[in-house]
């Protein structure tokens, strides 16, 4: 079970960011000209929320660099799909290549930023994101382990707690691991947290939240300076 051994906390009755807002906040971490891979789930929403005036070259593990927006009805080409099977457009400067080269880019440290969804992140930056213990079926890894091992900067976007209120940021992951000490930054519906050598550093909190309230729904200690700024959506 998620958060085994960790006392479930009463959730503060405060508004949290929506999935779209998490994506919107995470998109602000991207810089002009960056090569970026977006994973399934919340990360896949980020393309809609790029900061104005910047160009980002989105990478897909099936062999595309320079994906643009999703194709509109009538312009879909089903040989030009992203990793979620959705037909996409290209931006000027795009290229195609085979799957081995696509993952050479993920593993070899060629991408500037990768963003993945998460089930659990540990205080050391270990990530679990591919299998829920006890879930039916085979599970599937896809490209997540290659991406986790090789990304220059790995951002995880996820809700801060499970539906039952158990922390997803924990001392040690209890779910099957995707990679060890690979996460750099966590963007959730209540906070932005950096995984630093000294521990988890609270960078921002959702509007209306205090550092203490974020700590109460987190399963590992957070390092918090005196004044923590609010998350802004740009």
């Amino acid at each position: 079970m998620p958060g085994d051994g960790i006392q479930k906390n009463v959730m503060p009755d405060k508004p949290r960011l929506s999935r779209e807002q998490i994506a919107q906040r995470a998109a602000q971490e991207l810089t002009d000209g960056a090569y970026v891979n977006l994973g399934w789930g919340i990360p896949n929403l980020m393309g809609e929320y790029l900061p104005k005036g910047i160009t980002v070259y989105f990478h897909s593990e099936n062999g595309i660099l320079g994906m643009g927006r999703r194709a509109r009805p009538g312009e879909e080409d089903f040989d030009q799909v992203d990793a979620m099977k959705v037909p996409v457009t290209l931006i000027p400067g795009a290229s195609f290549f085979h799957q081995a080269d696509a993952h050479l880019m993920t593993r070899g440290g060629h991408l500037d930023v990768a963003v993945l969804g998460g089930f659990q992140v540990s205080e050391k930056g270990d990530l679990a994101n591919w299998k829920i213990p006890g879930a039916k079926g085979s599970g599937g890894i896809g490209g997540a382990m290659d991406i986790a091992a090789g990304a220059k900067t790995l951002i995880v976007c996820m809700e801060h707690t499970t539906k039952d209120g158990a922390p997803k940021i924990v001392k040690q992951c209890t779910y099957p691991l995707t990679g060890l000490a690979c996460v750099d930054t966590i963007v959730t519906d209540v906070a932005v947290i950096d995984v630093n050598p000294e521990g988890l550093v609270l960078r921002e909190v959702a509007p209306g939240w205090t550092a203490e309230e974020v700590q109460n729904v987190t399963g590992a200690p957070l390092i918090a300076k005196e004044r923590i700024p609010d998350m802004t959506l740009g």
Binding site: S60, E61, N62, G63, I64, D77, F78, D79, Q80, V81, D82, A83, M84, K85, F96, F97, H98, Q99, A100, A102, H103, L104, T106, R107, D126, K136, G137, S138, G139, G140, I141, G142, G143, A144, M145, D146, A149, G150, P176, L177, T178, G179, L180
Partner: protein
Amino acid sequence: MKQKVFASLDEAVSGIPDGARIMFGGFGGAGFPNNLIQALARKGTKNITAISNNCGTREGELGLMFKNNQIKHVIASFPGPHANHFQDRYAAREVTLELVPQGILCERMRAAAAGLTGFYTTVGVGTEVAEGKEERMIGGKRSILEMPIHADYAFIKAQKADELGNLTYRLAARNFNPIMAMAAKMTIVEAEEIVPVGSIDPENVITPAIFVHRIVQAKGLRYAG
């Protein structure tokens, strides 16, 4: 010139024995050799070890062969949300699965193609994927040993083939196809179009003919997600 062009799909898959190890190209609905898969389903080859990124989309792609119980073992990275025929066989223990990280799946096939006997990687260290694998420190990094994946056959979907076997692919339908084409002992290609030798600009060849053994013309089939 050795004759590589076959007149029919059924002839193109002739001689594939029970127990064969077969790679299947395709990702995200694009670049799947669905006509060859259906020919192999008609042929009824059994006890196949399949190497493929995923395990079918309902009855499409590899789904048909799981439905027919033709596959006994599969090496895949992401069986997929619509691989219901695979999941049923897997739950019934009629098929076994080796899950491999997607890029490592590529590299293990490429190692086979390149005559390498294995390689070390940091991918999967400390996870279920590392279980039973040799681990050592290389350059200060925990690394595990990965072995090549060989195959008897590769089923490939190309856009254009010349009669010698030079191939091009369309957009992101390329995906796993060029890697698998290099890794198998016999590569069988379904192409949208077969053209005379010399009519593909050598600069535009993606898979050189040396890797290709059988070619058959077929209009591509696609299965919606």
